[in-house]
């Protein structure tokens, strides 16, 4: 049983890291622990629970900025924004149900540390693109700040970028400032039905290359279509979301439907169904039920999505987001993530694969994150050493020795 330290403020986080340094203890950083089962199982002595650092400290809707302590529940922030007709434009997905946990948990710090995003990634970016400023405690037990509360800032290195997606291996964030944006007035989705994967990727490329300002593009093959909400029929659906002011959405819906007609039969989803559909895409719903199948997340060039998928065993279940650039793949057999073939495919076609779900024993023996070239691995290690030379923060969570 690991001990848990639960600091109440940023100063106590610094104290905890200093203590860990002095005693050669490794810390596991968690917020609400919703993504705890993701990543390499790291060998830590003590859990540093940051959920005690909670609360929104600044919110100025007209300035599009929000600051909160890192342990603030994401749900609390999303509710506050919603009340002000704003949102997190990066549409953070929820790993909870995918990893066998509850939905709706997770903290702002966790969302940033894992660089969450959602279907809107291809238009609005990921958490990294909305992360303006930070205060964090490095593995040297030093409190650093970077960035600020303004959108446009090039003062010094963009340390926010390297902290986003560092999985708590570089620093324990204590205070975070993000950009927030207005919620679109309405949305609708154009669905092309019955396409095979190759044709669907071509349709999505055509839609993304139009001036319809598509804010999400997913292809849901027929073997998983029934898991998604809001679809007219449980068959292959290539879904394209439009958001904005009502007259614009109406106009673009017509234009996009006309553009998609040559690809196949077109159906239209109004706001409620559109919202339901994209929520289930965002939550990777087909793979959130049973925990049996090992789950991969593959990021590649959108135009390569189909080729990557075609190289994977047909017994796998999968669907595409980001116009084909993100593939969620559930492998057919428990305990067999087939890492070798996935890695070979990705190495050949470009991009990277992350083993999102597998038993801990497998995540210890199979690389969870994409293995890096020797040069890149060495550089990553040097960056880690700059922040956390003794390896007290989430050691080994991403790669062994980092």
């Amino acid at each position: 049983m690991t001990d848990v330290l639960k600091p109440r403020d940023a100063k106590e986080v610094e104290d905890a890291v200093r203590w860990a340094l002095a005693h050669d203890k490794a810390l596991e950083l968690i917020g609400q622990g919703s993504k705890r089962a993701l990543g390499r199982p790291s060998q830590t002595d003590i859990t540093l629970d940051l959920s005690g650092l909670s609360g929104v400290t600044l919110y100025e809707p007209a300035e599009l900025v929000l600051s909160a302590k890192a342990g603030t529940p994401l749900a609390e922030i999303e509710a506050l924004l919603d009340n002000n007709n704003q949102q997190l434009d990066f549409e953070p997905m929820d790993y909870g149900p995918l990893l066998g946990g509850e939905a709706g948990r997770g903290t702002l710090g966790g969302a940033i540390a894992t660089n969450l995003s959602g279907p809107r990634r291809l238009k609005a970016g990921a958490a990294r693109d909305h992360f303006l400023g930070v205060t964090a405690v490095t593995g040297r037990a030093e409190t650093i700040k970077s960035g600020g509360r303004v959108v446009k800032n090039v003062t010094g290195y963009d340390m926010c970028k390297v902290l986003a997606g560092s999985w708590g291996t570089l620093a324990a964030m204590t205070d975070i400032t993000i950009k927030v944006l207005p919620k679109p007035e309405t949305e609708a989705t154009v669905v092309v039905e019955g396409l095979d994967d190759a044709r669907a990727c071509a349709a999505m490329a055509a839609a993304m290359g139009s001036s319809c300002d598509v804010s999400a593009a997913a292809h849901l093959p027929d073997h998983v279509a029934s898991y998604f909400d809001g679809l007219p029929r449980p068959e292959a659906a290539t879904a394209l979301r439009l958001e904005g002011v009502a007259p614009s959405v109406v106009h673009r819906k017509e234009a996009l439907a006309a553009l998609m007609k040559p690809f196949g039969p077109v159906a239209l989803l109004e706001e409620a169904n559109s919202k339901a559909l994209w929520k289930s895409v965002r939550q990777v719903k087909p793979f959130a039920g049973s925990q049996e199948r090992p789950l991969w997340r593959i990021s590649t060039a959108p135009g390569k999505g189909y080729e990557v998928a075609a190289a994977i065993t047909p017994a796998a279940q999968m669907f595409y987001d980001w116009a084909g650039g993100l593939i969620w793949v559930a492998m057919p057999f428990a305990n067999e993530p087939d890492a070798g073939s996935i890695r070979r495919t990705v190495a050949e076609l470009g991009g990277h694969a992350t083993l999102i779900r597998a038993p801990a024993s497998l995540r210890a023996s199979v690389e969870v994150f994409e293995p890096q070239s020797a040069g890149l691995a060495a550089l990553s290690k040097r960056v880690k050493d700059g922040f956390d030379p003794k390896g007290v923060l989430n050691p080994g969570r991403m790669w062994a020795g980092v």
Binding site: D15, R18, V154, T155
Partner: protein
């Protein structure tokens, strides 16, 4: 020149002839420039108050050459200053007397235009505008549009994380770059990112963008392409006070509208621009807003009507909607010519670049007016109002003794003021040499040391572009040391389970 650069290394300078000879074996022909006359054009960048001849200029053409030159400089302990088009306004490409100036201008090819993935792969010496021009036939463009876009290069944009007037809606360089090839000072060639959307492992690309040439030399960049909006319209709004204009900006955003561009000018800037361009700007107002909406015509018309209503509610005294593409461009012509327009009314001007929380604008303008009186120098303001990025133009005459120094001090005071109200030293021009010594107003020594440790991970000998960004250079060995103290958990009352 008030900023002190690192002391030139006498031992390196003594070997100059030998170094030039060695470099010629790596980069043939005219790629190595060593004569004073021919090096003259490289002695300064867009921050022309500063100039320094480099030891030698090298203009490589291939990644292999860059790699060889850097590996050689690394082995020999020679400093290297990378340079794109030299349009930096913060002295980022200012040469060093004992350094190699590595000009990337010959990397001028567009390698791949990939509409299916909506990306272009370009060499760093390609100009910003050339990317948009190359894809315009298919209705695409590259969205970051710094004012210098006709001349500035993509490599320089990556180094500076360049912005432009459309950042609020479309992001800066960092949001529009997916991958790069980078050569480290050791000569090692690495690939970061690619055509896919997110980083594998640490977001090192995110660190490289905006690193001002201190981390590596970029030899290839993958940029995102966007489809051009169907149409765009602008509205020109005059206000009796900057407070009213600021309130209008806030109200537009609070109404859920993110315009493609939203620019503000103060009275001196309006007058200078109107006299130069005759854009039809109202002259009897204290502040002028240009708000541009882009998208399908039906959306633009819908939103521009809402903006007009909001503007009138915010006490606008004049509201003018562009009724043709020609008129829209004319509205912008005045804004885009604001710098040269100010150049017409003053022998010299010094352009600043702070960002402030927008609500602080009236206070900042008021304090700036006081400073203007104190320094006896006029100031005109143009402002990327949507994102709070302020460009005060300080008017001075370099032929009058002491005026440049006064302008620089005035500028420093403005930037300190930006930080004081919760803003930052630079929104898009970079720290370079210009704001280097102001870094401690924003960052503690601990903050700066953490940044320098990132530098150490990329360039342990500190040979790439030293003297820029960081006011004080520490040895990496010294930065790496740790002093551990704290024998027991210093907060025994902390809840433990």
């Amino acid at each position: 020149m008030s900023v002190r650069m690192p002391e030139p290394d006498g031992a390196v300078l003594a070997r100059r002839e030998q170094i030039v000879k060695a470099l010629r074996t790596m980069v043939p022909g005219e790629g190595v420039i060593a004569s004073t006359r021919e090096m003259k054009p490289f002695e300064t960048d867009g921050l022309t108050a500063y100039h320094q001849l480099p030891m030698v200029v090298v203009l490589p053409e291939t990644t292999e050459q860059v790699s060889q030159v850097l590996a050689y400089c690394h082995a020999e302990g020679i400093k290297v200053v990378p340079r794109g088009a030299g349009t930096s306004l913060s002295g980022g490409a200012l040469p060093l007397a004992d350094g190699v100036l590595l000009g990337m201008a010959k990397f001028n090819k567009i390698k791949d235009i990939d509409f299916d993935n909506r990306v272009a792969v370009v060499e760093p010496g390609v100009t910003n505008l050339a990317v948009s021009t190359a894809v315009a036939h298919a209705g695409f463009y590259y969205s970051p549009d710094p004012s210098s876009q006709i001349a500035c290069t993509i490599g320089g944009n990556v180094a500076e994380n360049s912005g432009g007037v459309h950042c609020l809606k479309y992001g800066m360089t960092t949001n529009n770059v997916l991958g790069c090839e980078i050569v480290l000072i050791t000569g090692e060639v690495l690939r970061l990112g690619g055509k896919h959307l997110d980083a594998e492992g640490y977001d090192l690309l995110g660190l490289v963008v905006g690193s001002e040439g201190l981390l590596g030399v970029v030899t290839e960049v993958t940029v995102r392409l966007l489809k051009k909006p169907e149409t765009a319209r602008a509205v020109l709004v005059g206000f009796p006070s900057s407070e009213d204009a600021g309130e209008c900006v806030s109200s537009i955003i609070a109404a859920g509208i993110i315009p493609g561009g939203m620019e503000m000018m103060d009275k001196p800037a309006i007058h200078a621009a109107e006299a130069f361009v005759h854009a039809g700007y109202p002259l009897d107002v204290e502040a002028l807003l240009i708000v541009e909406l882009d998208g399908p015509a039906v959306e633009v018309d819908h939103l521009i009507a809402r903006v007009e209503t909001i503007a009138r509610e915010c006490r606008a005294v004049s509201v003018k909607l562009s009724t043709s593409e020609q008129e829209r461009l004319l509205f912008w012509a005045g804004r885009k010519a604001a710098f040269p327009a100010v150049g017409r009314i003053s022998p010299d001007y010094y352009c600043m670049d702070g960002t402030i929380p927008r609500a602080q604008l009236p206070l900042v303008l008021k304090r700036m007016k006081e400073l203007s009186g104190r320094y006896g120098l006029a100031v005109a303001n143009v402002f990327h109002a949507g994102d709070g990025n302020l460009h005060p133009l300080i008017l001075y005459d370099s032929n009058k003794p002491g005026e440049l120094d006064r302008a620089e001090q005035f500028g420093s005071d403005i930037l300190r003021l930006c930080v004081e109200v919760g803003g930052v030293l630079t929104g898009e021009h970079g720290v370079g040499v210009e704001k280097r010594d102001l870094m401690p107003t924003m960052f503690s020594e601990i903050d700066l040391n953490a940044q320098q440790r990132v530098k150490c991970a990329f360039d342990a000998k500190g040979l790439l572009n030293p003297g820029k960004v960081f006011p004080e250079l520490h040895r990496c060995a010294e930065l790496g040391r740790m002093h551990i103290s704290g024998g027991k958990l210093p907060f025994p009352d902390i809840p433990r389970f």
